[in-house]
C-alpha cells in the first residue's frame, strides 16, 4: 500500500494541468482573472475572454495566456471563439464561467431590460459557453466546468440583488444538471459560491446595505480574488476528479455567521 501510495499521490501531480487547455470568461478582472492565472501557473494554456473594453487593457500576462474579446451573450461570438481555440489546440479541457453583471438595484428601480441583461450575461452566457465547449471536451475524453456563482444564490447577502441572485440560483441548478448529463462522458461541473471577495470592479462609491454589509457577519474577514484559486485548481485538476454537481462556498464563514 505505502509504495503504491508513494507513486500515485504526489501532490504536484494531483494539481498539475500541463497539456490542458482552458477558457475563462470574465477573465480580465477579479475572480475570473485570478482563476485564469492560477490555471496558467499550474501549466495550462489559458484563454481569458472578456468585454473588449476590459480585455484591451489587460497586460503583463504570462506567455501561455491569451486575452481575447468576447460578448458571452452572443451565440455567434461564443461559437466563433470556441471553434478558433479548438482548431488551434485540438479541443478544450477546462471551462471557467466568470462573466458577471450586477446592477445592484431595488426591484422597483430595475427595468425589465436590465433584468434581461443580468440573466443574459450571468445565466444564458454560461449556457452558450458550455453548449459550445462541451463537444470540444468530449473530443478530449472529458473536461471540467467551473462556474463562478455567488453565496447570494443560496442566502440573501445584499439589498438590490434580486435579479443577480435569481440568475446565479439558475446557474447553480444549470451546473447540477450538466453534472448529471455529462458524468458518463467524464465531464464534471461544479459551482464556486464566493462570499465577500473584494474585486476592483466594485465602484468606490458602492455603499451596499443588507446582512452582508455588516462587518460582524464576516467572521473570517474579507477575501481577495486569489482566494478562489485553490478551489479552481482542485476542481480543474486530477485531484478533483470525483467531485461533481457541487456548489462550494468560499465565503470566510458567512453562511455560519
Amino acid at each position: 500500500m505505502s509504495q503504491h501510495m508513494a507513486q500515485t499521490c504526489s501532490v504536484e501531480a494531483m494539481f498539475n494541468l500541463a497539456g490542458k487547455v482552458a477558457l475563462v470568461t470574465g477573465g480580465a478582472v477579479g475572480m475570473g482573472r485570478a482563476a485564469g492565472l492560477a490555471l496558467a501557473a499550474a501549466s495550462a494554456k489559458v484563454v481569458l475572454a472578456d468585454d473588449p473594453g476590459r480585455i484591451g487593457v489587460l497586460g503583463g500576462l504570462p506567455p501561455q495566456v491569451l486575452a481575447t474579446a468576447l460578448d458571452v451573450t452572443s451565440e455567434e461570438a461564443v461559437n466563433e471563439l470556441v471553434s478558433g481555440i479548438s482548431e488551434r489546440e485540438g479541443g478544450i479541457d477546462i471551462l471557467v464561467c466568470g462573466a458577471i453583471i450586477n446592477h445592484n438595484k431595488a426591484l422597483t428601480e430595475i427595468s425589465a431590460a436590465e433584468w434581461d441583461q443580468v440573466q443574459a450575461v450571468n445565466l444564458k452566457g454560461a449556457f452558450l459557453t458550455a453548449k459550445a465547449v462541451i463537444p470540444q471536451m468530449l473530443r478530449r475524453g472529458g473536461g471540467r466546468i467551473v462556474m463562478i456563482s455567488t453565496i447570494g444564490s443560496v442566502h440573501p447577502v445584499l439589498h438590490g440583488n434580486s435579479a443577480y441572485s435569481a440568475s446565479r440560483a439558475g446557474l447553480n441548478q444549470f451546473t447540477r444538471a450538466l453534472a448529471l448529463d455529462y458524468a458518463a462522458d467524464h465531464v464534471t461541473a461544479n459551482a464556486i459560491l464566493p462570499g465577500a471577495i473584494h474585486t476592483e470592479t466594485l465602484p468606490s462609491c458602492f455603499r451596499p446595505t443588507g446582512p452582508g454589509a455588516d462587518p460582524a457577519r464576516h467572521i473570517g474577514g474579507y477575501g481577495k480574488p486569489e482566494d478562489i484559486a485553490g478551489l479552481v485548481l482542485l476542481l480543474a485538476g486530477p485531484a478533483g476528479r470525483y467531485i461533481t454537481g457541487q456548489t462550494i462556498a468560499v465565503d470566510g464563514g458567512f453562511l455560519v455567521s
Binding site: S2, D227, G230, I248
Partner: protein, 269 residues
C-alpha cells in the same frame, strides 16, 4: 523549481505542519495520513488498532516522512487527551486535525439495542467533539497567527440516504455536520477553519470489513445501491484524501463551515 511546482506547493503543501489523522490506520485515514506526509506534514497516525497505526506511520517514515503512531479510542476522554498531549510532545504543537475515525456497523432499526445506538453516537459524535475540543485547546494556545484547520469526515447519507439499516450512523454523522458548522462559527475569529467532507461510496478497508463481517450481514439495500446512482462510480480513498488535504491546506484559507460532498455525483444522480 518551476513556477508550476512553486504555485502548487504554496497552495497545497503543508510543510512542517503537525497533522493528527484519526482512523489513520486504514482506508480514507491511511490515504490522508500518507498524502499529508507527502505534502510535508508531520503526522500523528491515530487509530483504535495500534498495529495498523504503526504500520502506516512506519511506511511514512520509510518514505522519509515524519510520523508517530498513537492508539486511541476517540470515545474515551482520557485517551483523546493523551493523543493531543502526545502530538504536542512529539511535534511541538498541532496545526491540523482530521476527524476520520468512525464506528459504522449496520443495525436493524427495530432490533438495534439502545447500547448500539449509544455506541454509534459515542464514537462518531462524542468522539468528534472530544478530538475537536482537545485540539482546539492547543490551537488557541498557539495563537491566531498560527491558527489551525480541522476537517471532519461525514457521510453523503446526511444529505441523501444511502442504505437501509443505517439510521444510527446517519444520525451520528448529522451531528458531525452540526459540530462542523458550530465550531466553524465559534472559532473563526481565532483563525481556526473547520470544514467537512461527505464521501459517497468509497472502496475503503472499513467498507470491505463491513461487507465481510457476518455479524453485519444485513442487506446492502437503498438508493446508493441502485445501478448508476454513483455517476462517477466508487471512490478510491485517495480521492477523498485529496479533498481533505485541500480543505486543510492554504488553498482553502477562505473556506470555513462548508460541508463538501465528494460523492461522484450521487447527490445529482
Amino acid at each position: 523549481m518551476s513556477i508550476t511546482q512553486d504555485v502548487i506547493n504554496s497552495l497545497y503543501t503543508i510543510p512542517g505542519k503537525v497533522a493528527i489523522v484519526t482512523g489513520g490506520g486504514s482506508g480514507i485515514g491511511e490515504a490522508t495520513a500518507t498524502l499529508m506526509a507527502q505534502a510535508g506534514a508531520r503526522v500523528v497516525v491515530a487509530d483504535l488498532v495500534e498495529a495498523e497505526a504503526q504500520r502506516v506511520a512506519d511506511a511514512i517514515v520509510n518514505a522519509d516522512g515524519e510520523a508517530i503512531a498513537v492508539k486511541v479510542d476517540i470515545s474515551e476522554e482520557p485517551e483523546v487527551q493523551a493523543m493531543a498531549a502526545r502530538a504536542v510532545e512529539g511535534f511541538g504543537g498541532i496545526d491540523i486535525l482530521v476527524n476520520n475515525a468512525a464506528y459504522r456497523p449496520k443495525a436493524d432499526f427495530f432490533e438495534m439495542s439502545v447500547a448500539e445506538w449509544d455506541k454509534m453516537h459515542a464514537v462518531n459524535t462524542r468522539g468528534t467533539f472530544l478530538c475537536s475540543r482537545e485540539v482546539i485547546k492547543v490551537m488557541r494556545r498557539q495563537g491566531k497567527a498560527r491558527g489551525g484547520a480541522i476537517v471532519n469526515v461525514s457521510t453523503i447519507g446526511t444529505a441523501l440516504p444511502t442504505i437501509v439499516n443505517n439510521v444510527h450512523y446517519d444520525s451520528s454523522k448529522g451531528g458531525v455536520n452540526a459540530i462542523t458548522k458550530s465550531t466553524a462559527s465559534e472559532f473563526a475569529a481565532e483563525g481556526i477553519r473547520i470544514n467537512a467532507v461527505m464521501p459517497g461510496g468509497v472502496d475503503s478497508a472499513g467498507a470491505r470489513r463491513m461487507r465481510a463481517d457476518p455479524t453485519m450481514n444485513l442487506p446492502m439495500r437503498g438508493p446508493i445501491t441502485m445501478p448508476g446512482r454513483m455517476l462517477l462510480g466508487v471512490a478510491t480513498p485517495l480521492q477523498l484524501a485529496s479533498a481533505i488535504l485541500f480543505l486543510a491546506s492554504p488553498a482553502a484559507s477562505f473556506m470555513t463551515g462548508h460541508i463538501m460532498a465528494v460523492d461522484g455525483g450521487y447527490l445529482v444522480g
